[in-house]
């Protein structure tokens, strides 16, 4: 489903991702963890073209993006990739000038060219799925963080993505609101969605993920099953990271 070969990414001279190669099969739930600044967000954003890779290739649902592609080809590929991926951001990024249901309808109307009526039906079902049916006509500013993030998930799901990307979806939330968002994500995982989740929620990673990618300094330092990773991390770097996390 996702395949990276020698993927690298630099901002000017600063190399943030270094020769990353990996394969993520369909229906796998991957948790990406690692210290701040290790390149987790950048890696995730390379997967849907919010950052353009500067070396190597990346293939998402058979759309192949190469660092050497010219601008036109690149735009075309990224556009195709984004049709198949949904993304959820740490800061939700809901459209503040649109109601909950309009937020979810927007891409259906603009990208999929559906009629308003069609879009409304689909959006309504998705909002129900994340448990916010009574908030359809409300503006995002009137919602709690947890509710906003669930709307953001519904908005991403509206495009029927094959892959969902999450960048620290619960990091901006009050602790008591984290659970409701994780619950929706777990349901998605149980339904077989392919997911890549950057997270600091170790327990969630352990319980829900099929696989842990541990990143440090722009590389995937460890790639293993959750149990193995949390019980017997093989690298010294991961051991130190986990020791630090466990202090809290």
């Amino acid at each position: 489903m996702i395949q990276a070969n020698d993927l690298s990414k630099s901002f000017d001279q600063h190399e943030v991702l270094k020769n990353i190669s990996l394969k993520i099969p369909a229906h796998q739930v991957v948790a990406v963890i690692g210290p701040s600044g290790s390149g987790k967000s950048t890696f995730l954003r390379c997967l849907n073209g919010l950052e353009m890779i500067t070396g190597g290739t990346i293939s998402v649902n058979d759309h192949l993006l190469q660092a050497t592609d010219n601008k036109k080809l690149r735009q075309k590929t990224i556009h195709a990739i984004r049709q198949d991926t949904g993304m959820v951001f740490q800061q939700f990024n809901l459209y503040p000038h649109k109601t909950v249901i309009e937020n979810v309808m927007e891409a259906l109307i603009v990208v999929k060219k559906q009629s308003k009526e069609q879009a409304r039906v689909i959006a309504s079902q998705l909002i129900m799925r994340v448990g916010l049916q009574e908030k359809e006509e409300v503006y995002p500013s009137k919602l709690s963080g947890g509710q906003q993030q669930r709307v953001a998930i519904a908005r991403a799901l509206a495009m029927e993505p094959k892959i969902m990307l999450f960048d620290e979806p619960t990091s901006a939330l009050d602790p008591e609101l984290v659970g409701e968002v994780l619950k929706v994500m777990k349901e998605l995982a149980d339904e077989g969605m392919t997911m890549v989740i950057v997270t600091h929620e170790m327990k969630f990673a352990q319980d829900v993920a099929d696989r842990i990618l541990f990143m440090a300094d722009g590389q995937i330092v460890e790639d293993s099953e959750p149990r193995k990773f949390f019980e017997q991390p093989s690298t010294e770097r991961a051991q130190r990271f986990l020791a630090k996390v466990n202090e809290f």
Binding site: N48, L50, H79, R82, Q83, T85, G86, M87, F89, Q91, N93, L94, Y95, P96, H97, E106, A107, V110, V111, Y139, P140, S141, A152, R155, A156, A158, M159
Partner: protein, 213 residues
């Protein structure tokens, strides 16, 4: 006082032209300004440069000079415009530059995460700008645009020099006829003031309307 009341219809006609010129120039200025702002922020180097030079020239030259160039200057090239048309053109071009600055600031004030969220759902850059960024930018731009438009209303008095009978020229004509200054000039001052206040009020209503969220 009586001479003012006797000539009120004439003055009101001047006020009508002042308002007309303001509204027409505002309308085209908004379009020019929005296009210029987008050209400056998203255009390629060519369009960015054109837009920047345009804004720089307009902001760096007196509006009066711009008006006489459009009305008298263009005649040298065989372009003879009616006074009112020249006023529309000169003022639209003038205000477009200021509007573009207001829009540019407002577009930049919309968080980048909004664009990214839109792109991530599969929108093209143009769709993201149109559907997500511009609607939010317009709301942010309203207070500075309000100032620009009230400034515009007052600047329309400059087109009296090309013999458009707006408020100021109406008063000047009456002064020439009756040889008294104060009543007429005071009356148009009051009229400008009423119009400005009205504008400010309308804009605040629009701003409220747009801030439902």
């Amino acid at each position: 006082m009586d001479i003012v009341i006797d000539n009120l219809p004439f003055l009101l006609k001047g006020a009508y032209y002042t308002l007309l010129i303001t509204v027409v120039s505002m309308f085209f200025g908004l379009i020019i300004g929005l296009i210029t702002a987008i050209a400056r922020l998203k255009g390629n180097r060519f369009f960015r440069t054109i837009a920047r030079v345009y804004v720089s020239i307009i902001r760096g030259t007196p509006p009066l000079v711009q008006i006489v160039i459009v009305y008298y200057g263009l005649v040298d090239y065989g372009i003879e415009l009616g006074a009112l048309t020249a006023a529309y053109i000169a003022l639209s071009i003038n205000i477009g530059a200021y509007v573009s600055e207001a829009f540019r600031g407002a577009i930049q004030a919309v968080p980048i995460g909004q664009t990214e969220a839109a792109l991530a759902t599969g929108m093209t850059e143009a769709q993201a700008i149109r559907r997500v960024v511009i609607p939010q930018a317009i709301r942010i731009a309203i207070p500075p645009l309000g100032n620009t438009f009230v400034g515009m209303l007052k600047e329309t008095s400059l087109v009296s020099v090309i013999a458009v009978t707006e408020l100021l020229r109406s008063a000047q004509l009456l002064v020439a006829q009756y040889y008294v200054y104060m009543p007429f000039y005071l009356s148009i001052a009051v009229m400008y003031w009423i119009l400005s206040t009205l504008f400010t009020f309308i804009l605040s209503v629009i701003e409220k309307r747009l801030s439902v969220y």
